[in-house]
Structure formats: structure tokens, C-alpha cells
């Protein structure tokens, strides 16, 4: 298994400079609000799937509660902007901080659990956050949602069309990917991978396993919170329905289809799955089914996704062999 394939090629300027240039010029060429809106949506999902990749892909902690933190970030920004007139350059970091702190609160009791049990408990938290959002009417206005969130404004200029949002989300994408690339190139990033590959060995070489896991969870949830703040200022309306378990599955599908454990994997997955249904009217109608079917096919036939590291979802527990592991007719791993 190519252990070091995580090394992001962020230093390969010949690849990313032309891509970035093309992305910068995109709104100058394409003026359709609809296409720019699709691009902005893709940008939001790039942040969400890339941040989920930190826990699920790099560290091997299967979190199924990402949409909850996305929602916590969105609600934080929405409440601060509508009730306390906080400017957007403050709501973004504050949304990240609140989501990250909720991440700590959930990580501390749950990260003892491994593999599927961690996945299940995060599903439980996801549903609890959703139900509390729906019922805590004095804070969240419950099922009515929070409307009229002001668009971002800098020095008297208020965001209007999707082109402004496009450049903001592009900036956020560059920041998030740069941050992830730097983290993964550092001691901390190597500790994440070590924990995924073999927790006991990681412990043995002196990695503080539990704090590192919590750190991984916090970074991922804080980034999801920032994505939520962007969503709130872009959609200008938040309601609990946008942050359900289904949304976590959409993000997870993007991550798995793109590939876990690499920098480009979740980016490819998010862009591909946001654009794919828009290709035809026919597919828009069947968006969810298409996602579900693609998830099934990818797990069956290419579990590492388009550009992921093989073996992440196929080896959750190393100590206990699952039943059937020794059946003669079972396919060899």
C-alpha cells in the first residue's frame, strides 16, 4: 500500500497554477447566474468533503455526523448576523470556533470508540443536534428557520450576484486546501496517518493518540462550521432540514466517490457529484438515487474511489477478523 501517497502535490506549481488561473477567469467568461450558482455549490461541498476527509480519510475515524457541524456553523452565523449585526468577516471565524468547540464536546466522550461504533454514535449525535435545532424555538425559530440573513459586505460594498460569492468561496477553498496540505505535510498530519494505519504502533512511537484524534476531529468540524457560515450568508436562509443525516450521506458519498486520504480525492468527488445531476433535467430529478447508486457501485467495484488511498474503508479493525474471514470460497483481500 502506498503509505506516502498522502503527500499532497501542492508544491507542483505547474499543475495548480493553471487550474487556479482558469478558476479565477471562470466568472469573467461565464456570466450565467445558474452556472455560477452550481460552481458556488461545488465550492461549499469541496470544503465539506475535504474537511470530512481529515477524520474519515487521513485519521481513519469514521464520523457520520458532519452535517451537524455544518448546521451548527450555519446557525451560528445566521443568529450572529441577524440578531447582533455581526459583520461576515467575524461570523465566519466565530462559526468555525463554535462548530470546533462542539466538535471537542462530542469528540471527548466518543473517540474511545472505534470503527463502526464511532460511526453509529456520531449518527446518534447528528440526530440529536437536528432534533434540538428543530425544537429549541427561542434560539433557532425551530421549523420556521432564520430568514433575511444579510449578504456579506465589505467597506460599504454589499455582495450582489453569484460572482461575488464565487470569488469568496474560491478564496475559502484555496485557504482550506492550503491548510490541509500544510497540516498533512507536518508532524501532526503524519501522526493522523500513523493512527489510521496502526493505532498501537502509533502509540508505541510516542504519538499522543487520543489528543491527536481530538485535534483531527476539531479541525474537520471547524472547517465544516466555516462552510456553514458561507452557506448561511449565500442562501440567506437557514432551516434544520438543510442539515439532516441525508446531508451527511451526500458529503460522505462525495468523499468516497472522490477517494479518501488524498488532497484531490474529495475535491474531485465534490465537483463531480455537484455537476453530474446538473448535466440533464432527467438526472436532476433523480439526484438522490444517482448518488445512492454511485455509492453502491463505488464500494463494490472501486472502494478507493477515483483518486483515494486503497484500504481505508476495507480495514477498520485489525485485531478481530470478521466472521467468514477464513471461509475457503471467500475472495482473498
Amino acid at each position: 500500500m502506498p503509505l506516502y501517497s498522502f503527500t499532497p502535490r501542492w508544491d507542483n506549481k505547474r499543475v495548480w497554477l493553471p487550474v487556479l488561473g482558469a478558476l479565477l477567469l471562470f466568472p469573467l467568461v461565464v456570466r450565467s447566474e445558474y452556472l455560477l450558482n452550481v460552481a458556488v455549490l461545488a465550492g461549499i461541498y469541496v470544503i465539506l468533503s475535504s474537511s470530512l476527509n481529515i477524520t474519515n480519510g487521513y485519521t481513519g475515524l469514521f464520523s457520520f455526523g458532519h452535517a451537524a457541524f455544518y448546521g451548527i456553523g450555519a446557525y451560528t452565523a445566521a443568529i450572529l448576523a441577524t440578531r447582533h449585526a455581526v459583520p461576515f468577516w467575524l461570523t465566519f471565524p466565530l462559526a468555525g470556533i463554535v462548530a470546533g468547540l462542539s466538535g471537542v464536546a462530542i469528540a471527548l466522550p466518543t473517540l474511545r470508540l472505534k470503527g463502526i461504533f464511532l460511526a453509529l454514535i456520531t449518527i446518534g449525535f447528528q440526530e440529536i443536534v437536528f432534533l434540538v435545532t428543530l425544537n429549541w424555538v427561542s434560539l433557532t425559530r425551530g421549523p420556521m428557520g432564520i430568514p433575511a440573513i444579510p449578504p456579506p459586505a465589505i467597506a460599504g460594498y454589499s455582495f450582489g450576484g453569484n460572482r461575488d460569492y464565487y470569488y469568496l468561496i474560491l478564496l475559502l477553498n484555496v485557504l482550506v486546501l492550503f491548510l490541509i496540505a500544510r497540516i498533512m505535510d507536518s508532524r501532526v498530519g503524519r501522526a493522523f496517518i500513523a493512527i489510521r494505519e496502526d493505532e498501537v504502533a502509533a502509540q508505541a512511537v510516542g504519538i499522543p493518540v487520543f489528543p491527536t484524534k481530538v485535534l483531527s476531529f476539531v479541525i474537520a468540524t471547524a472547517m465544516a462550521g466555516v462552510a456553514g457560515a458561507f452557506f448561511a450568508h449565500h442562501a440567506r436562509f437557514v432551516s434544520a432540514d438543510s442539515f439532516r443525516l441525508d446531508e451527511t450521506f451526500v458529503i460522505l458519498t462525495m468523499l468516497i466517490v472522490g477517494g479518501m486520504g488524498t488532497l484531490v480525492g474529495p475535491v474531485i468527488g465534490a465537483v463531480f457529484l455537484v455537476i453530474l445531476p446538473e448535466v440533464s433535467r432527467f438526472l436532476v430529478q433523480f439526484r438522490e438515487i444517482v448518488y445512492g447508486a454511485i455509492l453502491i457501485l463505488v464500494i463494490l467495484f472501486r472502494p478507493q474511489g477515483i483518486a483515494g488511498v486503497p484500504g481505508i474503508i476495507h480495514s477498520p479493525t485489525r485485531r478481530s477478523k470478521p466472521p467468514g474471514a477464513a471461509l475457503p470460497e471467500a475472495p482473498a483481500e
Binding site: 469514521f62 466522550p109 466518543t110 474511545r112 470508540l113 472505534k114 470503527g115 463502526i116 461504533f117 460511526a119 453509529l120 454514535i121 449518527i123 446518534g124 449525535f125 440526530e127 440529536i128 432534533l131 434540538v132 428543530l134 425544537n135 425551530g142 443525516l245 441525508d246 450521506f249 460522505l252 458519498t253 468516497i256 430529478q285 433523480f286 438522490e288 438515487i289 448518488y291 445512492g292 447508486a293 454511485i294 455509492l295 453502491i296 464500494i299 463494490l300 472502494p303 474503508i313 476495507h314 480495514s315 477498520p316 479493525t317 485485531r319 478481530s320 470478521p322 466472521p323 467468514g324 474471514a325 477464513a326 471461509l327 470460497e329 471467500a330 475472495p331 483481500e333
Partner: protein, 288 residues
């Protein structure tokens, strides 16, 4: 009033129990978790709806049709999602069944719409028990659930395939060495679990007089919460867990707020996993 809420809770809990037992059978024999169980329940409920509302069949036939639909779905899910993945750990079957659950749910939404479908009610009479109104239907449902659980126990304890299932659950390699066809046992176990899920769906449709495409998600998660509460591999534990969740939910509606009823199952699930991962009646196992 309190008694009425407890009876409501027990009826509801008994339906969660059917779903939870399915998770126990699957986890007990295969050590794997399915996420499509809620959708099997939904398909069973729709089968019951077709039988009762469209074809005007008697309810026992509807129940059998729902169970048959569950059985078929279980056989297929096991073949597609579990058999090729059995050596590869917990995660791939869970992820595939997430895909299956999305596809089944959305297919029903597209084909039949997302709105509630009315199911004709049966046994509408109520009787007085210690000053509370209790409907006959609740006793019928509790009776059917008890009957199904007894039948399951007989199947597991007293038949050849039941013995094969118990042997496979204990040690599938040893069972294989003794000539048990493990693939067939896994398939039947999965089908059996799904069959109970389908039965629960039909009964829920009759109980609430409605079926809808998204009914499976919450039911599946609650059944799973009951299964964790009871200890993952213990059928009595799952039944107990489901009944407790059902009763506490109804008391929450009575004494706290109806909006928070659904949160009980998830609080139970989270607390049990943190504090006592082996559940009420489960044996110690590695989850940490």
C-alpha cells in the same frame, strides 16, 4: 391516563422490538450492521398498504405479503451488499446499505410520491381497563408481535437451520468445518431479520393508518438504538430495550414536549455506547 400512555408505549415498543430483533439476528450471526433495515420496514409497510387499500385483502394476508417482501429484499441485500464484503470488515456493508437505503427510499418517493398514504383501520373498538381507554388493535398488535417472537425462538431453538444459525454465530469456522453451509445460513439469517422488519412495517401502517416513503429512516435508527441498548447480540435485551424506549417516548410526550419524543432513542444510544457499551444484557465485547 398514565396507564394509557404505558400501553401506547408498549405497543410502539413492541414494533420497535421487531425491527431491533432484525439487527440482533444480523449482528449476532454476521457481526455486521445494515443500514437498509429501516427501508425494508418501509417496503413491508407499503406492501401492507397495497394489500389492504388497493387489493382489499384481509389483514393476515397483508401481513404475510409484507413479510414476504421483506424476505425477498433481505435475500437480495445479503447477496449484493454482504456476501462480497464479508471478509473486508464492518465499513463496506454499512456504506453499501446506506446506498441501498437511499435508492429504495427515493425510488418509492418517485414512483408513489412522498405524501402519506392512508391505510384502512381495523379493530377500532376500545375497551375500558382500570378507567383508561385501550384499543383492541393494540392488543392484537401486541399479540402478533409475541406470536412472531415465539415462532422465532422455536425456529432458532428447535429446528435444524436454527441450530446451524446458533453454531455459525458462535464460531463460523467450526460450524463450517462441521459441514454447515455458512453462506446459506447468513442468507437465511438476513432474510429472517428482514422478514420481521417487513412485518413491523405492515403493523405500523395499520396502527397509525398511514404509510409514507421516509418512514423507514427514524424507525431503523430507533430499532438500532434498542438493539444497542439491549446489548447488540441479545434478543431478550433488544426486546427489553425497545419496550423501554417505546414507553419512555410516550411519557416524554405526556410530561415534557411532543417535539422531543424522537430524541429519546438517540440519547439512549449515545449514553449506552459511552457508559455501558455491552448494553443491558449483552456479553462483554470489544467496542473500544
Amino acid at each position: 391516563m398514565l396507564l394509557q400512555q404505558v400501553v401506547n408505549g408498549l405497543t410502539q415498543g413492541s414494533l420497535y422490538a421487531l425491527v431491533a430483533i432484525g439487527f440482533v439476528i444480523i449482528f449476532g450471526t454476521m457481526n455486521l450492521v445494515t443500514f437498509a433495515h429501516g427501508e425494508v420496514y418501509m417496503v413491508g409497510a407499503f406492501m401492507g398498504y397495497f394489500a389492504l387499500s388497493w387489493w382489499h385483502l384481509p389483514w393476515p394476508v397483508a401481513l404475510l405479503l409484507g413479510m414476504a417482501a421483506g424476505w425477498i429484499l433481505g435475500v437480495l441485500t445479503e447477496k449484493v451488499a454482504f456476501r462480497p464484503m464479508r471478509t473486508l470488515g464492518h465499513m463496506p456493508p454499512l456504506l453499501i446499505t446506506i446506498g441501498i437505503s437511499i435508492v429504495l427510499k427515493e425510488a418509492v418517493v418517485i414512483l408513489l410520491g412522498a405524501e402519506n398514504r392512508p391505510v384502512p383501520s381495523i379493530y377500532e373498538q376500545t375497551i375500558q381497563v382500570w378507567g383508561s381507554q385501550v384499543s383492541v388493535l393494540q392488543f392484537v398488535i401486541l399479540g402478533i408481535v409475541v406470536l412472531l417472537i415465539v415462532a422465532l425462538q422455536l425456529l432458532i431453538q428447535a429446528t435444524k437451520i436454527g441450530r446451524a444459525m446458533r453454531a455459525t454465530a458462535q464460531d463460523h469456522e467450526a460450524a463450517y468445518a462441521m459441514g454447515v453451509n455458512a453462506d446459506r445460513v447468513f442468507n437465511i439469517a438476513f432474510a429472517l431479520a428482514s422478514c420481521l422488519g417487513g412485518a413491523a412495517g405492515v403493523l405500523v401502517g395499520i396502527y397509525y393508518n398511514a404509510v409514507y416513503a421516509t418512514m423507514g429512516g427514524m424507525a431503523g435508527l430507533k430499532g438500532f438504538a434498542a438493539c444497542i441498548f439491549g446489548g447488540l447480540t441479545s434478543i431478550p435485551g433488544a426486546i427489553l430495550g425497545a419496550l423501554i424506549i417505546g414507553v419512555v417516548e410516550n411519557l416524554t410526550v405526556q410530561f415534557i414536549a411532543s417535539g422531543y419524543r424522537d430524541i429519546i432513542a438517540f440519547l439512549v444510544m449515545v449514553l449506552v455506547l459511552i457508559v455501558r457499551p455491552q448494553g443491558l444484557l449483552g456479553s462483554k465485547m470489544r467496542v473500544v
